[in-house]
């Protein structure tokens, strides 16, 4: 943008203006140049990232035997993590966006987003030293907890709807989470007790993990770490859907859940799919939790009761020792390239799907 031309005049102000014109023009130029340099650096970085991987990759014979178990390990960890993160994150997002009173929402959303900032190494520490040994002794209890959880919550909720006076129900609208805490804790207690009983009866061998550091532990902790990502993105998508849709459905006699399931969720579906994809991508690339709590044994199997070794954890373990230019180094970079490509692909897919949501919301 050009500097305004100095006006030829003799007033002192105008003279000063004219005097400073050169300095101002120089500043303008300097800003433009430095902005250009910054943009060029970004472009360079964006090109250099994949280029350095591609340049150092070397395919040695037998690479599949080394890289494939790692890839399988990464997928195993990410799939289990998403299996945990999706019900928790999506459920919490639905409740937060549609059922929670505004004050609650204003509290819950930053809380979960703050949880996203918890360093992975802290979660990995808890997973490796506490959760893994505990879970190894209580796999049965955990399995029972999983089976009982949904039925118990549903029974408790439906009983409340049938039995509680309408006045009470009106007062508790929006605060159903507190009502769910007693059945949740009860389920925990029942599962622990039943697990001990079954273990005493000698059924523990059915589900005995081969190692305390296994896919189950990874799934739980990594799922907890990824949950805020899924929550945050799908909550945004659901909250952006106009509430009129739900109100209209309710006016026509739908229950709250029917309105949500038939009206809101289909509209917000692209946003939720994007949240799922990004959560998966994040779980694939997460290093510390997997490094600390997975046992790091490269296995080609999908069981939650065996260990795994993921690409990211393998990089953190082996890259500092690999000699530059060696075959080992080349293979490490190959696995890194795979991980990089996968994450890039997932992010691009998520971005495309989110674009669709945005267009759909504009249409409404």
């Amino acid at each position: 943008m050009p500097v305004p031309a100095p006006v030829s005049s003799v007033t002192p102000l105008a003279a000063r203006f004219a005097q400073r014109a050169g300095v101002r023009a120089r500043r303008e130029r300097r800003l433009r140049v430095s902005l250009g340099i910054a943009a060029a650096l970004l472009a360079l970085l964006a090109v250099a990232m994949p280029a350095f991987l591609l340049a150092s990759v070397r395919l040695t014979p037998g690479w599949q035997e080394i890289v494939l178990p790692l890839l399988a390990g990464s997928f195993k960890a990410a799939v289990y993590a998403v299996l945990v993160a999706l019900p928790l994150g999506l459920g919490a997002a639905i409740w937060c966006a549609c059922f929670a009173p505004p004050a609650w929402r204003a509290l819950l959303k930053p809380l979960f987003e703050l949880f996203e900032a918890v360093p992975a190494v802290v979660l990995g520490l808890i997973a490796a030293l506490l959760l893994a040994p505990w879970l190894a002794r209580h796999v049965l209890a955990f399995a029972i907890f999983l089976t009982l959880l949904a039925p118990m919550l549903a029974i408790a909720g439906l009983t409340w709807q049938r039995v509680a006076p309408l006045r009470w129900q009106r007062r508790w609208v929006g605060y159903e989470v507190w009502l769910m805490l007693p059945p949740l804790l009860l389920t925990c207690a029942v599962a622990l007790w039943a697990g001990d009983q079954f273990a005493a009866a000698g059924l523990a061998a059915l589900l005995q993990p081969q190692t305390p550091w296994n896919g189950l532990v990874i799934g739980l902790m990594l799922g907890l770490a990824v949950m805020p990502t899924v929550f945050s993105l799908s909550e945004d998508a659901l909250f952006a859907v106009p509430a009129d849709l739900a109100l209209g459905a309710q006016a026509l006699g739908a229950t709250r859940w029917q309105a949500l399931w038939r009206m809101l969720l289909p509209v917000a579906a692209p946003g939720i799919v994007a949240a799922l994809l990004l959560g998966f991508s994040r779980a694939l690339g997460e290093t510390m939790i997997v490094l600390m709590a997975s046992g790091n044994t490269p296995l080609l199997d999908a069981s939650p009761l065996t260990g795994l070794r993921s690409i990211a954890a393998n990089l953190a373990l082996e890259a500092p020792e690999a000699a530059p230019g060696s075959a080992h180094y080349g293979l490490l970079l190959l696995s890194a390239l795979l991980l990089f490509g996968l994450c890039l692909l997932l992010n691009a897919m998520a971005e495309t799907v989110r674009g669709r949501l945005r267009r759909r919301l504009v249409g409404l």
């Binding site: 549609c98 190494v121 859940w257």
Partner: protein
């Protein structure tokens, strides 16, 4: 507005299974969150709590042994005790089956001496007398064992602590843990210094570049093809796994530039070609660049267009408008960006394992020797310490306990920073609303 604020009579009694399941999901997530925090807090506190000291007599294959030792764990079948560490920290753990125990006393005059290097010596005597003894001390240890009284950090009458004394001891030990060097009972001071210096250096590197980039993307680039491509690149860089950044730093900075520098300077020991502070902060700067750009762009978008137009109408050039009007108004956004970047960088461990954080180094990156800040040195990092203490410690019981304490410290720093960013952002939003009116 919430979509379902009302409860019409007609639908109140009709089952809403899904609703209850989503409420359960919130409850379960909150429970998990609380459990994680509670466990961390509890374990961290436990690592500082003093262990009671017992006098044991037991029978081992026909021979009788006696020992004064701290009881660090027990179950129905056995006791886990830690005897006096005459030689080496963590070397005197012993598991004694309850069946073999002949006698177990908790003598009231038990004294624990804490030594400078983290060792403990348990004996019976008068704590006050031990505190007052001039050097050298002669504890009833192996023949010839001599102890300088300057080595004794702390004398604790382990079995006679009142609750207030115990709490005071925990606080004192926690303080020494934060401020102490490793070896003196395992402090995290060097790791803390390393983390802070690393993060400061990273901020100096990333902030100018990030703000310039955000300015370019938001104010100059428009919506041409180059701008769109670079925007997509930025979004994708944000999604790249952090360990890949570490690998990038290792290949480009450490092996590439650092190795080249070493060859150029003809140094026979790798000075730049090993990992170091500079390479780590550069790597972290790349990693946090998207964070800074996205947060700054958000702030720039909130500056009302009327302010820009007013500045331009008064004859300001674009540079002047940006420098004098837009950036000052967006200052809270810059602060938010900085805080978020720092929080992200402070909690990141995986890339640092590749480019220069080490388990132990005797030298701090910042000291009194010229040039004061040693950017080519390897350094210790809080997150890396958590990892190393937890999985590669020399003391199977005390090191993991300290890992919890270090993790709690890290968590407090990172979560505190993020909470500050949230507050700053809210402040920005309010201000933007005021300006827009």
């Amino acid at each position: 507005m919430t979509a379902f604020a009302s409860l019409p009579r007609g639908v109140a009694r009709r089952g809403d299974t899904g609703l209850w399941l989503t409420a359960g999901a919130v409850g379960l997530s909150l429970l998990a969150l609380v459990a994680v925090l509670a466990v961390l807090l509890l374990q961290a506190l436990r690592s500082f709590a003093p262990a009671p000291v017992a006098e044991l007599r037991w029978n081992n294959g026909g021979t009788e042994h006696t020992l004064i030792a701290a009881v660090v764990g027990q179950d129905a079948r056995a006791l886990l005790v830690r005897g006096s560490e005459w030689q080496r920290r963590g070397a005197e753990y012993r598991r004694i089956a309850r069946a073999d125990l002949l006698q177990l006393d908790w003598p009231a005059d038990a004294v624990t001496l804490h030594l400078r290097d983290g060792r403990e010596i348990h004996l019976r005597g008068d704590a006050a007398a031990w505190r007052a003894t001039p050097m050298p001390l002669l504890p009833p240890g192996p023949p010839g064992f001599l102890l300088a009284s300057t080595d004794v950090v702390d004398v604790v009458a382990a079995n006679r602590l009142t609750p207030t004394q115990a709490i005071g001891l925990v606080v004192q030990r926690a303080w020494r843990f934060v401020g102490g060097a490793p070896g003196s009972g395992g402090g995290v001071y060097p790791a803390l210094v390393g983390t802070v210096v690393l993060v400061l250096l990273m901020s100096v590197l990333v902030m100018p570049l990030g703000v310039l980039l955000a300015l370019w993307l938001h104010e100059y680039a428009g919506s041409g093809r180059v701008a769109r491509l670079l925007r997509a690149a930025m979004a994708n860089l944000a999604g790249v796994p952090t360990v890949i950044y570490g690998l990038f730093g290792l290949v480009l900075f450490v092996n590439g530039i650092g190795g080249g520098l070493d060859a150029l300077l003809q140094s026979d020991v790798p000075r730049w070609g090993g990992g170091g502070l500079l390479w780590s902060s550069l790597t972290l700067a790349l990693l946090t660049l998207p964070v800074v750009v996205i947060a700054t762009e958000e702030g720039l978008a909130r500056v009302p267009a009327s302010l820009r137009q007013a500045a331009l109408a008064l004859g300001a050039t674009r540079a002047e408008m940006l420098w004098r009007v837009v950036l000052p108004v967006a200052r809270p956004a810059l602060l938010t960006a900085l805080i978020l970047a720092v929080a992200r960088a402070a909690g990141e461990v995986a890339p640092l394992m590749l480019v220069g954080a080490v388990k132990y180094t005797p030298l701090l990156p910042l000291d009194g020797e010229f040039p004061y800040l040693h950017v080519s040195r390897q350094f210790m990092h809080l997150g890396q310490s958590v990892y190393d203490l937890a999985l590669a410690g020399s003391d199977a019981l005390r090191d993991p306990a300290q890992a919890y304490a270090a993790a709690l410290l890290l968590l407090v720093v990172v979560v505190g920073l993020n909470a500050a960013a949230i507050v700053a952002r809210n402040h920005l939003r309010e201000r933007a609303r005021e300006l827009a009116v």
